[in-house]
């Protein structure tokens, strides 16, 4: 079908919205509340267009196209309406852009600029509200909130958590938690997906930049840093490099130049995790343990199970996440080997994730009262730190990470994408159970961005049912089907964020599906070109077992690399 837009004819498909047709034709209409792949909410009214024969302006995000429709997307009436809406938002806004974490990346700021807002046209009372800093991972500042509702929707419709919703009425409406308590006592799982889609500075991560900087400047501290598999393929975007570029070497150089004493790679402990987890799975299968077993690397997922589905706690792998495994090894084995007092080690991790900040603060993630991880920086915070230090990543010569925890297989690197943990586990499980390597290391059904993927994998005489889900609503659906009697699954990988860590809540803002796909491809390319592609062949992991840990699931592993979970009370 054809529709007329700004006096030119464009093609449209029956049933689609005006906005979809406009986008395809390359006509940009601003939006604030629109979310891809979700039903339109029609809250912000920024996308209004003028349609011939209609009394009022229509929201292009929510209105279906009709044959012969005549649309004006930038008529004076439309532009004036959009500008007025932005002016109205600004009237209640704190107006403190220079102090805002989103200065330069704020959609409200951008729209005000695009629409030429230059006067404070509507003076009046500001929307004032207390900041909520109670969470280990996130900070909410409702006074900057424009109530687009995207955070509420992502929390409910993608993650199935509903920690936040609208409260109050009229101009006193705002987003809040149940009983308006702090986020820390809410059911929030700290995934940070709300931060990713927040158009303003109303939501951000709990920053650890100050703690890290202080530690670097403290000469008594040995500052050790590890970076997660997904960070090296996303940090570039934070620094203006195109999506899907692996900047691992340059990042290592930058970290050293900023004063980190040791640079390790979390992909090393991802390999370690695989050794432990694959052994645990084999053990459960052999000894009639609780199945299916769920991965436990994603801390949002762990809290989700503890709060909403405690009946599945026995199904969770007891393995700590790679971040916590490496943290525990650094302050035990490494401190001992190097002769450093663990109290003088400041252990930093760079993560694509906000929930990792919460995980690092869990009381069980300590040794002798010392936290295994002292500070967690998100990819965004690392970007900020690099910019603050004036480093030009493009001009830095790539460098290699420090031994012994810099070495990793490309299987460990795959942890960054949904399905990666499973693929790495399948490779190693096959070897552990059959003594032979998989003929084809790439397990195609586990790859790609789909929220739910399943495969039947043949390992020797055994056929193993595996599933990979990302996005907790998908996970909850799977749990329901298992509760309802599904029995064909043995091992399930769950990532909290849709797409996995490459789309985590600590990643660069403005993340879209295309960028996520490129990041994923970058990880696959690294694996394709990798020399060592299986976790069990990681030489330093082997040495670690020989020199220190003994064997997977052994006594030392049990203390350092495994943990347990318990039902968690939260206001649901």
């Amino acid at each position: 079908m054809n529709i007329q837009v700004n006096n030119r004819t464009i093609e449209a498909k029956r049933g689609e919205t005006i906005l979809t047709a406009l986008k395809r034709a390359g006509i940009k209409v601003p939006t604030l509340c629109h979310m891809e792949n979700l039903l339109p909410s029609g809250a912000c009214r920024m996308c209004v267009v003028e349609v011939d024969g209609q009394r009022s302006l229509l929201p292009s995000c929510a209105f279906p196209v009709a044959e012969g429709m005549k649309i004006q997307t930038h008529s004076p009436r439309v532009v004036r309406a959009r500008k007025t809406i932005v002016e109205l938002l600004l009237a209640g806004h704190p107006d403190d852009c220079l102090y805002c974490v989103r200065n330069g990346s704020c959609q409200l700021q951008e729209l005000a600029g695009e629409l030429g807002v230059r006067d404070r046209r509507y003076a009046g009372a500001k929307t004032e509200s207390k900041m909520d800093t109670s969470s280990a991972s996130l900070v909410r500042d409702p006074s900057k909130c424009i109530l687009c509702g995207k955070c509420v929707r992502v929390c409910e419709e993608i993650q199935g958590v509903s920690a936040i919703d609208f409260i109050n009425r009229g101009c006193k409406s705002r987003v809040g938690t149940a009983f308006d308590e702090g986020l820390n006592v809410s059911s929030c799982i700290n995934c940070g997906q709300c931060v990713m889609i927040c158009p303003t500075g109303a939501l951000r991560e709990q920053s650890h930049i100050k703690e890290v900087t202080e530690a670097i400047n403290d000469h008594n501290k040995i500052v050790v840093v590890q970076h997660a598999p997904a960070v090296s393929v996303t940090l570039g975007e934070e620094l203006g490099i195109k999506p899907g570029t692996d900047v691992c070497g340059m990042m290592t150089t930058a970290l050293r130049q900023m004063g980190f004493d040791r640079v390790f790679d979390t992909s090393f402990s991802a390999d370690l995790t695989i050794m432990e987890e694959a052994t645990e799975l084999a053990h459960r299968v052999a000894n009639g343990g609780v199945l299916p077993m769920f991965t436990s690397c994603s801390p949002g997922w762990i809290k989700f199970v503890e709060e909403f589905h405690p009946d599945f706690i026995p199904n969770l792998s007891t393995c700590k996440s790679p971040q916590q495994m490496l943290g525990a090894i650094i302050k035990s084995f490494y401190a001992g080997r190097e002769g450093i007092d663990p109290r003088n080690i400041f252990s930093v991790s760079i993560m694509p994730c906000t929930a990792k900040k919460f995980e690092a603060e869990r009381p069980e993630m300590t040794q002798n009262g010392l936290p295994d991880i002292d500070a967690v920086l998100t990819t965004r915070e690392l970007g900020r730190l690099i910019r603050r230090q004036g480093l030009d990543v493009n001009a830095l010569a790539p460098d290699a990470a420090d031994t012994p925890f810099g070495e990793h297989s490309t299987a460990g690197k795959l942890f960054g994408a949904t399905g990666g943990v499973m693929e790495a586990a399948v490779r190693t499980a096959h070897y552990l159970l059959t003594g032979e390597e998989l003929a084809e290391l790439k397990v195609q059904p586990l790859r790609g961005l789909e929220g739910v993927k399943e495969a039947r994998v043949r390992i020797g005489d055994l056929e193993v049912g595996v599933a990979v889900v990302s996005g907790l609503k998908n996970a909850a659906n799977l749990l329901d089907s298992i509760r309802a009697g599904r029995k064909d699954l043995h091992f399930i990988e769950v990532m909290t964020c849709p797409g996995g860590c490459i789309a985590g809540g600590g990643q660069p803002l403005g993340t879209n599906t295309d960028a996520v796909r490129r990041r994923m491809q970058a990880l696959y390319d690294i694996d394709r070109d990798g020399v060592q592609r299986v976790s069990h062949k990681n030489e330093f992991v082997q040495r670690l077992y020989k020199e220190f840990l003994g064997k997977p699931l052994g006594e030392k592993s049990h203390h350092l690399l495994h943990t347990k979970y318990a039902k968690r009370e939260a206001i649901l």
Partner: protein, 668 residues
């Protein structure tokens, strides 16, 4: 007394709970159909007449105990009546009825003596009961009228009229009305389904499920020209057809009783006074669209209405009028009450749907329209209480009967809740096209206390004001739009010269900005800013700094632009019409705005901050009381000589006016 459901004329009558006779309701009144017997027919006729109390054997007393009656003290009246009957050992029945419409006359007490017509007395407070009843029960109406004014007597072919007592239908409040929806309200006992049936109730519904197909019914209602009485005025039958033709096994009907406009109480009165009419309308509508489940969405602030409709549903179930396979027609209907928590926006269809679903009451974009995808994503028709209450009449009497009354595009009658500065406040039902002047001045009795009429606010927060020069406008959907107002749900608030139109606009803006759901930006933020602009206009100069004066002018300049954008871009009807109170007052009362802005004057004296005060030296006795009370030390003077107010120090609080015993302080 035996209930109609248990009625059997003789052994041949097969009526009973186990027998699903499709003609059961008409048979109870016009039967028997299955056998012929004059005695059986007579038994039925007599029974119906008894239920209608055409010729009661003992005295019957009626008291209006609707919410308005109770507010006026009907509870005390009722207690006094019971006490009087007990003390004097009089055998008489007391029947609690709903509000007959003339709220200003409440508490209303009717006396019906055997062989005589029913006489209504007005303003019968508790202490008047004894005197009134002593005279009335003795048949001395002349004496009774001294105890409490008489409103009039009902007309009856079965009973002798009282001499010298005017007829109720000749009363200036009732004479011009056309009471279709309100027919039974205030007349019958709303707690008895038998009375409703005896007055012709449930015939239409049983006829519909027996003899009319769904498409025929939709067409009948469409042709009658009935339009939604909730305010938008969409053709009811057309809306039904969308739902009837929408694919889907499960469909829903919702009765919208979330009456939220300030000054509107039509739905409450209809449900309190005649709940079965609404229920029958729902049953007809549900059958018409093929819904098997219906919801009554009603405000929790209407406890009496909730009680009445709940009782009505229970009774109708007992009679087999609701439930599975109603009278062997194959049609089943379950009716559920859902109480709303009182958010104004929940009267909007999609917000109402969310509320029933257990979500926060916020509207969503349309399309898809509820008739296609509504409650729980199923086709849903949402009809207003008054719309539904019109249906029994249409089905019984036909579309032509209905469309014979009204104007070209607006058929039937409309109920208005008349309030404000009008002599006779209450519930009024008139034919569409009745002149506004007739409603206000003939029915309502005009503006009291010799004040001049200024405007009529119609349609609540989404509506507008009709000024004096347009008061001859005909009340129908289209005409009202030409004057910048809307029909709305039926709130009609009369204002006199003491009303400040800027203040009225401010009142509605304050209402809207508090009741906005908060979802879309123009409504949430825009109405708040509009209110602030109005507040600045009515703010006194005394406390204003230079920049604030500038803001005042700046705000006024943007008022129109803001109003247009809110209308143009808001998500739901609430937001799209939110600026109407301002636009309409600006249109008709621009000079009042200008006086506020430029002359800093409020001619009605409502905007307190704009008043200036002076002391009339001729009246001032120099008592010093005002000077002592003045919180700003702005009054100067010595004892026994006239005082003087220093304008620069005066904060305009008005304390001096309240203090002065000699009316010497003049506010202007």
């Amino acid at each position: 007394m035996a209930r109609l459901s248990d009625f059997k004329c003789c052994d041949r009558c097969r009526h009973g709970h186990d027998h699903l006779c499709p003609s059961r309701v008409p048979c109870l009144l016009d039967g028997p159909f299955c056998h012929k017997n004059d005695a059986c027919s007579k038994a039925r006729t007599e029974q119906a007449a008894r239920l209608r109390r055409e010729a009661p054997e003992k005295p019957v007393l009626y008291v209006g105990t609707g919410t308005c009656g109770l507010g006026a003290g009907a509870g005390k009246t009722l207690a006094a009546m019971k006490q009087y009957l007990a003390a004097n050992k009089i055998d008489a029945r007391i029947i609690e009825v709903g509000c007959i419409g003339l709220c200003v006359a409440e508490p209303i007490l009717d006396v019906q003596l055997p062989g005589h017509t029913r006489v209504s007395f007005e303003k019968v407070s508790g202490e008047k009961v004894s005197g009134l009843l002593t005279a009335a029960m003795a048949g001395n109406m002349a004496q009774a009228r001294k105890a409490a004014p008489v409103l009039g007597q009902f007309r009856s072919s079965e009973a002798a009229p009282w001499p010298d007592v005017p007829f109720l239908d000749e009363h200036p409040f009732f004479a011009p009305q056309k009471r279709w929806v309100l027919q039974n309200v205030g007349v019958i006992d709303p707690s008895q389904i038998d009375e409703y049936i005896a007055h012709g109730g449930y015939r239409a519904f049983t006829k519909a499920i027996k003899d009319i197909t769904r498409p025929e019914l939709c067409t009948l209602v469409e042709n009658s020209g009935l339009r939604g009485r909730g305010g938008a005025g969409f053709n009811t039958g057309t809306k039904w057809k969308f739902a009837l033709n929408a694919p889907g096994e499960q469909k829903y009907l919702v009765c919208n009783a979330d009456e939220g406009d300030p000054g509107a109480f039509m739905d409450r009165a209809v449900i309190e006074g005649d709940p079965h009419r609404v229920l029958e309308g729902m049953a007809i509508a549900a059958y018409g669209i093929g819904a098997t489940k219906a919801y009554v969405y009603i405000r929790a602030e209407y406890p009496l209405a909730v009680k009445r409709i709940a009782a009505a549903i229970a009774e109708a179930k007992q009679y087999g009028l609701l439930g599975q396979n109603i009278f062997d027609s194959g049609f089943s209907l379950d009716v559920v009450i859902k109480m709303g928590a009182g958010a104004f926006v929940c009267g909007e269809e999609t917000a109402l749907i969310h509320s029933i679903e257990g979500k926060r009451g916020m509207p969503r974009p349309r399309p898809p329209f509820p008739a296609v995808r509504g409650l729980f994503d199923k086709p849903t028709v949402i009809n207003n209480v008054e719309t539904l209450a019109n249906l029994p009449g249409i089905v019984s009497n036909g579309d032509a009967w209905f469309s014979a009354v009204g104007t070209a595009a607006s058929k039937g009658t409309k109920v208005f809740a008349l309030s404000g500065k009008v002599a006779r406040t209450g519930l009024v039902e008139v034919a569409m096209g009745t002149k506004m002047r007739q409603i206000i001045f003939d029915i309502g009795g005009g503006v009291p206390n010799g004040k001049a009429f200024k405007a009529a606010q119609i349609g609540g927060p989404s509506g507008g004001c009709i000024p004096e020069q347009h008061v001859d406008i005909e009340v129908d959907y289209e005409s009202l739009k030409t004057a910048g107002a809307i029909m709305g749900s039926g709130g009609l608030v009369i204002m006199d010269e003491d009303t400040c139109m800027v203040d009225i606009a401010k009142f509605f803006m304050d209402f809207i900005q508090r009741e906005s759901c908060g979802k879309c930006i123009p409504c949430r933020e825009g109405t708040r800013r509009m209110l602030e602009i109005l507040q600045r206009i009515t703010r006194g100069r005394r406390n204003e700094t230079g920049i604030e004066a500038l803001e005042r002018f700046q705000g006024v300049m943007y008022l129109n632009r803001l109003a247009e954008v809110i209308k143009d871009t808001s998500l739901c009807g609430l937001g799209q019409t939110a600026p109407n109170p301002i636009l309409s007052t600006l249109k008709w009362f621009r000079s009042e705005y200008e006086e506020h802005i430029y002359e800093r004057k409020c001619r009605a004296g409502v905007c307190k901050e704009l008043l200036s005060y002076r002391i009339d030296a001729a009246k001032c006795k120099g008592c010093t009381a005002c000077a002592k009370k003045c919180p700003a030390d702005a009054i100067m003077g010595t004892a026994k000589s006239p005082h003087y107010i220093i304008p620069d120090k005066c904060i305009g609080c008005g304390t001096c006016v309240a203090t002065c015993r000699f009316n010497a302080v003049i506010a202007e």
